[in-house]
Structures are given as structure tokens and as C-alpha cells.
């Protein structure tokens, strides 16, 4: 914490104030138009209003089965190290990062038009992958993940300047009320919550298991839910939820005998590439926030795959 934090010109400064604050979003939500992608006007309007969109069975059962098998294989072979997050207590693999670099199959998914064209439409132009990972929420003892806005962390700890990114969670298993489906607060993407507390050194080493900084306080959450309510993203395997980078989300634990596994990709606009972290700490490792903004559309040329 050596840098003086810019609370005068940075509209999204956070972890800088003694009390939490709510400030209106100043960026558009949908950057493209209806003509530029697969989403029709009703879907665009819904995303603009709620900050997320669930697309049922976007991928076929056959595709999803193959992806799930690959995810299981990668988890079984994973060695502890950066980009591999182990569940506290049970020692099960919780997340595997940078799948678009390490797995040919998941790289194909990240460049699949069913996801990519939606991301391009929402973000108004070419995009690159800021982060990708598989999230495993194991049966019986999958742990909950508290509410947070991804953008808050990406802005403060990675240096993402503005709200011009979208996350996709592709369900590799069915997501139900019982196995820890993604919970979302509709409309929360229109308010930026400044969180309280300075960022500790190497915060990400702990925050991937249990986040303690950059999380909204109860009062902030109560305000957002009073206004927008709460929803869960449920659907059969192969479904996907697209959610805006500032949409407040979390997930409950998993007491069911059904694991919940998803592939998570963050698309960021190439016009929103990372700068120095706004929180003044060193940038997090590339597996969390890629600083190589090569557009997905240029993958074939530049990386020869």
C-alpha cells in the first residue's frame, strides 16, 4: 500500500473510505446494439435492466458431457500450485484457472460463437479473455461463496478501468435450488458499492477460498435486495448465465449428492484493457487477470492453434 489512492478522479474507488458508500454506475450496460449479435431486443432490454441473462441449453447434452468429463480429468490430474484452488478442509479441487490456455477443449468453448458473439454484442466490439476457470462445488460439502461484485475486485486489484466486461458461467452439471446455484441481485449492476477495508498483501491467495475484503457490508446488501430482490440461475447442464461484471452475486453451499460444476469465462472489451490496479497493490497473477489483451477473434493467427 505505497500508492496514494485516487479518490477524486476514480469513479469506482473502493476500500478507500471509512464507511461503505453506494454510487451510481456511470457506464453503459449494453454497449452494442440489437443488429450486432444474437440477442433480440427483449433479451438486450432484460440484460440492461437486471444485469444478467440465463440461456437454457445453449450447449447440447453431448457437448456438455464431454466438457464435464474433461473437467473431471483435469481436476484429478491437478497439482497444487498457482491457478489451482483447493477447498478448505476437504482438500477437494475448487477451481482450476486459465483453462483457455491449458485445455484445447475449453479454449474452443471460449471462442464458440454461442458465447463469444453474445459477449461482443453486449460489450460493443472485440473482446479478450480476462479470466477463465472451472468452478467445482462438490456434493455434500461444497462451500458457500459470499456476495460480491467481481468488478470491485478487478478494478481495485487488477486495474480494470470501467464496467465493460461480462462473465459467462456455462453449466457442466444441472444447476438447481439444491446444489448451490448462482444467486444474483437483479439491478445491482447499476450501483457501485464502495467496500470498507484496505487490501492486504497477496490478498488473492486467501480471497479465492474465502473473500474478506471487497465484500459488501450487510447494510449495502440489504439496500440492493430491498430494491431488486434476489434470483437464482437454474437450468439443465448446457445452460449458461451471462452476468454483468458489477452484478452482485454469490452462491450457497451444496448439501445435495449432486456436484455443481461450471466453466466460467470473463470477456473484457479490448477497449477496457487493464492498467495499474486502482487499489495501489501490485497486479494479481495472469491466471486471475490476463494482461495480454489479444482478441479472441485473433487467436488463430497469433497463437497458431
Amino acid at each position: 500500500m505505497t500508492t496514494t489512492l485516487d479518490t477524486t478522479t476514480d469513479p469506482y474507488h473502493s476500500r478507500t473510505t471509512a464507511e461503505w458508500e453506494a454510487t451510481p454506475r456511470i457506464d453503459p450496460v449494453v454497449w452494442g446494439d440489437v443488429a450486432s449479435g444474437p440477442l433480440d431486443e427483449a433479451r438486450c432490454t432484460s440484460y440492461e435492466k437486471n444485469g444478467y441473462l440465463v440461456a437454457h441449453e445453449l450447449f447440447s447434452q453431448r457437448e456438455t458431457t464431454a466438457l464435464h468429463a474433461e473437467a473431471e480429468r483435469l481436476a484429478a490430474e491437478a497439482e497444487p500450485g498457482p491457478g489451482v484452488v483447493i477447498e478448505p478442509e476437504s482438500r477437494a479441487v475448487r477451481s482450476l484457472f486459465r483453462l483457455h490456455e491449458t485445455s484445447e477443449l475449453f479454449r474452443c468453448v471460449a471462442s464458440d460463437p454461442r458465447l463469444l458473439d453474445v459477449a461482443r454484442q453486449l460489450l460493443g466490439g472485440e473482446v479478450y479473455v480476462h479470466q477463465s476457470r472451472i468452478n467445482f462445488k462438490p456434493a455434500f460439502d461444497g462451500k458457500e461463496f459470499f456476495w460480491h461484485s467481481d468488478f470491485e475486485t478487478w478494478h481495485v486489484e487488477d486495474g480494470m478501468p470501467r464496467m465493460r466486461a461480462v462473465s459467462v458461467s456455462l453449466f457442466l452439471t444441472a444447476s438447481t435450488e439444491f446444489n448451490g446455484a448462482l444467486l444474483l441481485v437483479p439491478g445491482s449492476h447499476k450501483t457501485f458499492i464502495r467496500c470498507v477495508g484496505e487490501t492486504p498483501e497477496n490478498h488473492h491467495e486467501k480471497s479465492l477460498k474465502k473473500q474478506e475484503f471487497g465484500v459488501p457490508c450487510p447494510e449495502a446488501m440489504r439496500m440492493l435486495v430491498d430494491h431488486g430482490g434476489m434470483d437464482s440461475a437454474r437450468g439443465p447442464a448446457g445452460s449458461a448465465v451471462f452476468f454483468e461484471c458489477n452484478t452482485m452475486h454469490g452462491s450457497s453451499g451444496n448439501l445435495s449428492p449432486w456436484p455443481r460444476t461450471n466453466f466460467f469465462i470473463v470477456y473484457n472489451s479490448v477497449e477496457n484493457r487493464l492498467v495499474e490496479p486502482f487499489g495501489g497493490t501490485p497486479a494479481r497473477p495472469a491466471f486471475l487477470g490476463d494482461r495480454d489483451a489479444t482478441p479472441v477473434g485473433a487467436w488463430n493467427e497469433t497463437r497458431g492453434r
Copy 2:
């Protein structure tokens, strides 16, 4: 652990075998008949099949509001001690026991015909209160409770001979998919799962916060859920769920801004009163398993209230 456990004549012995076992229930589920109480044939059949029954808005909003206020008052005034369980970490009150003895209002609820007559019908005759308590699952950090059969514990640790008890959870707040509603496995009451592991001394001092013995293993749970699926007991405040003492149940954590509070009463048949605990450990304190089997119908005479 000085007593030799009776694995030859006790049909429901548990924590006695090296591996888990499933054994069929040998007791009736519905002990009374349709003529003997408020439940019609369809409701009796459903309870017999599933092991639980949800009754929506059994108590009025006005009654529920008064009960909830009383619950909050009792929690605010509670001093640490037996019958008062504090949430690990947050220090919030999680459970208050023996409400039918300590609160005039909750004593009235326990003897209210809307609950009592159903219990009498299901259990085929006069009943007494084995245990009563308020369960608080606070907003944002209410903790999950893993799957278990109450009867397993009551048999092993309290000495309840047979499956002839019913629990009622009366919702003092709405119970939703988001605030840790009771989860149940339909049909699970028809199978007794023998759990693995000896009971430690004074087990209840820990098990009320996090149960580690008398819980089914993942394989047992998988078998039950494969067979019966999973359900959640949801409804507005004033609703109640009646569930059979051997129905496998649990609840997720509560990430929502809405606390989940309920009043929980266990009715046991007077013909099923407690004997020596079948697990060989000393009986648990009276707030967990009352050894005074005075029928609720005789409360006015014997206790003069």
C-alpha cells in the same frame, strides 16, 4: 461407554457397526386413522408416503408477528447456559430450548389444536413434548446443518424406543429457497440408516452446533436421494411442516438479508416414552429430551397454568 450395546434385539441400533447399514423401518408411520383428527385421507396418505407434510398459513399473520417478536425478545435476553446455543464464529443465538416451559406464549402454541390434533392423529393417541426450541438462522451468515435423522440421535442418545414421534416446525418468518429452508428427502423415513462411529462423551455439547456423529455417510445419502429425490419446505410465515422423526433432513446456510426463524416442537407418543439411551451413554439433559411424559392434554391440571 460402559454398557454393551444390544445389537441383537434393538432393531434401530446405530453407531455399533464398522460400516453403515440400511435397514427397513418396522414401525407404522401413521398410527391413528382419518376419523381421529384434522388430516383427510389424501394428507394422511401423503405423510405416510413422503414422511412430511407442509400446511400453509396455519397461523395468522397477526399471531406469527407476535410470536416472532417474542422470539426476538427471548433471544435478546438469553444468557449463555444449557438450552441456549450460540452460533460458532458470529456469537449469535442459534437455538433456545424448552420454550414450552419458559414462555407462556410458546406453551400455548405447543398445546394449540392446529398442531396438537395433527400430532395426536399421526401418533394415534395422547402425546407429550419431547423437545421444543426456536431455531434462528440469521441473515447473511446463518450456517448450514447437515443431513440427519432426528430419531437416530433420540434413540441412541435419549432412549426413544420406537419411531412414534413427529416434529413440527412452525415458520415465524417466510421460508424460501434463499434463506435456508428445511430440506427433506421424501420417503427416507422408511429406512433406518445405521451410522458409523462411537458417541463421544457429552456429544450434545458439540452436536447442537455441528453434528459429527449420528450423521449418514455420503453413500447412504446418495441411496436415499436416488430413491426419493429432495424437497424443500417453503411457505409464508405461519406455515408449518410436520415431519416424521426418521425423515432425513437438513438445511443450507442463509446468505440472504432475511433471517429464517422457526418454532420447533417434537411430539412423542406417551406410549413411546424414553428409556435408557440405546447407545449406552448417559441420557442427555431434559432440555434436549424431556423424561417427564406428562401429556399435553393434562397440562392444565398438573402444572396449573
